[in-house]
Symmetry: C2
Subunit: 477 residues, 2 copies
Amino acid sequence: MKLDNIKELLGGEKLLQEVSVKGWIRTFRSNRFIALNDGSTINNIQCVVDFENISEKILKQLNTGAAVSINGTLVESQGKGQNVEIQVKDIAILGESNPEEYPIQPKKHSLEFLREKAHLRVRTSTFSAIMRVRSSLSFAVHQYFNQNGFNYVHTPIITGSDAEGAGEMFRVSTLDIKNPPLTDNKEIDFKEDFFGKETNLTVSGQLEAETYAMGLGKVYTFGPTFRAENSNTSRHLAEFWMIEPEVAFLDLDGNMDLAEDFIKYVIKYALDNCKDDLEFLEQRLLQEEKTKPQAERSEMTLTEKLHFVIDNNFKRVSYTEAIEILKNSKPNKKKKFNYIIEEWGADLQSEHERYLVEKHFKTPVILFDYPADIKAFYMRANEDGKTVRAMDILFPGIGEIVGGAQREERYDVLKEKVEAMGIDEKELWWYLELRKFGTATHSGFGLGFERLVLFATGMTNIRDVIPFPRTPQNAEF
Amino acid sequence: MKLDNIKELLGGEKLLQEVSVKGWIRTFRSNRFIALNDGSTINNIQCVVDFENISEKILKQLNTGAAVSINGTLVESQGKGQNVEIQVKDIAILGESNPEEYPIQPKKHSLEFLREKAHLRVRTSTFSAIMRVRSSLSFAVHQYFNQNGFNYVHTPIITGSDAEGAGEMFRVSTLDIKNPPLTDNKEIDFKEDFFGKETNLTVSGQLEAETYAMGLGKVYTFGPTFRAENSNTSRHLAEFWMIEPEVAFLDLDGNMDLAEDFIKYVIKYALDNCKDDLEFLEQRLLQEEKTKPQAERSEMTLTEKLHFVIDNNFKRVSYTEAIEILKNSKPNKKKKFNYIIEEWGADLQSEHERYLVEKHFKTPVILFDYPADIKAFYMRANEDGKTVRAMDILFPGIGEIVGGAQREERYDVLKEKVEAMGIDEKELWWYLELRKFGTATHSGFGLGFERLVLFATGMTNIRDVIPFPRTPQNAEF
């Protein structure tokens, strides 16, 4: 008999038919009601067993976490809480779950505890919801770019250059670390390493993506990136997934249009395709907020926050304007900010970004034309001699969610900047050559995927939105 | 004026309208005809310039590889080879391309030469076609799984275990290799490393994907995997992308159904969505084959090979049957095989796999129930005590394209195998626990994405189907 999935059964189309399901028991109560889940939906299906006709042995095995196979009839439910239920005819235990040992019991576990059980936490309602939303957002990313004529490019993970200077890198090597080969000068002889030179894990696929944009026109990457920063915070991971579109013949304004359209599309996709999961996460968040002092509670529910993004036009404000607004703001004058904004050139902190979004504009904000000194070398210099064509998108709750720029397309200007930064030109010869042969205006941005998942699920610790987080001192599983 | 893309213009809908395109010059001939490409399609659009009204300076810059901006009228073409063309009104040079320096000239470059220019090779027809097909196949993968209720899981890239034993691994570390910290016993002190232990780049996401299948039911991975093998062949990469679905409550037969359905879907998707690119690649292959001796030429064109896969039922044959067929085959008896099949238990080579597919069955083949000794520890043992529920899918030309198995779901049996293999149980405690709590039959398979792209594009060297190949002594770009 073909297996039914619980999501479809709860839709009710098979009413009064024989059905066959396999799944894991979430709860078993009154020796009669099994709440069964198979991962297809956050909702369990109620399976009603006639305990008088079931062996004592099986009854004893109907524990939380056990895998079972059930055949029965889908009927309208008499009880509250569900429209349909299964009248069980046969039940078989596929895999037991000893309640003395199984760590995921039907009670509230702390998120910290569940991180230690990352191989089992997806069996909880919270994590199954998060991970289904994560999967849906991933698909929405691919679908958006596919529908808009972009090509997906797999940029390399192992890289020979630390050119972007975006942060500390992990070394990738096959050298015997106990006894590495040395040169005549007693330096490590990386010529003997697998790739014949020192290699690291990539911090960004952007530079390679640019080479493809300058041939295919519109491309994007979606892959893992790495930072070896010793940051044990709720916002940092050593390994995370990044989305980086790159488009030829696009200027900064077009880049802002693209980013706004893209984010709205993927958030709307989640709202349309993850209703049950988002509803559950919204309730979860409301419960959690109740335990907080009033002042720390969010002003918006999860759904309101998502609609805040898709229903508003993102306000476009230059960095210079933003500094003026912040300088004259109450929290700045009353010294409520941790970092007081005193003059043009200051790097904005999350508190400033959130003030602009949540208090001042009450809409997502795109800041543009940042001081060159606080941005990367590859960003297009403006004619004013001090700003670059960078843009950041700021969201409520989390601050910066997107960072992008129009790229410096002029060979001489870029070469000068590379030199000024002390970057070895030999590492970037290929990147410079893009400006030598058929160069053109082009732009792109980066979006840290876990930031997006945090925002969409209302979770607050980034370790809870990726299956197996990698952080300092932690690479379990 | 909004930019038009060449793919849409060649569709002809804007006939007699003003159009605006930006792209790169592929060729410029007779001081009059520009073949312009913007990456949206393999086909160039012909732009006709009136050289008498263009400055000498611009004329001199209309070289292969230069980026230009063109406004004009889309008209029916008088010449052969295209239906429409652009009568140019304005033309501007965005980025020059000095013909003395630009390496990608309109002539046949060797694939080897182009590998050295991996940042520019996507500007050729061949590589733009390959990379668009690669992108389409990627999207088809996501679309197939999305439509069939799978969740995409990002399994970790950095891993603390070498449990699968699938091959040599790359070490990931932030230790100072010149002066690593030592323990009292003069061993490297990996407690001081970033993750507090020795870590490597993953060889497969399967084991972690299994943990998610046992909660979400149906999942898949699609991410980079790594092998530090010193193999300089046309079939090996140190960094490649792998697709690994994993499904709870699925047995080996169901796994074969899934794999066959999946592959047919993605190949058909490419045939439906990459017509122009595949046609170009087919012609390219025909030209290349002409240079080979008759005996080495492929019996099928590229399109025929793709239809061979989607139009045939994959023949399912047990390993034991296959050995009998091979033992009694002509090439075996006449000792034409490099590896003569003498007895049950032999590991099959590509020559044997191709014989079964191309000569004996004349259809894609799924071999199943392999000897336990030549397969991985996690595969489900059959009752015969000597085979496991493994399956490989064999394709014409390339041999194995998929390897999969039903997984060993019995705790005791798996624990015994882990011990027998000498694997440290502490590394796999979480994997074993899946068999302790709610275990059930489950299955999955792995497909090396570059193998699929090789097959679909008719290319023969794996370095030509990934943007920036990573191989021994090569991590350029």
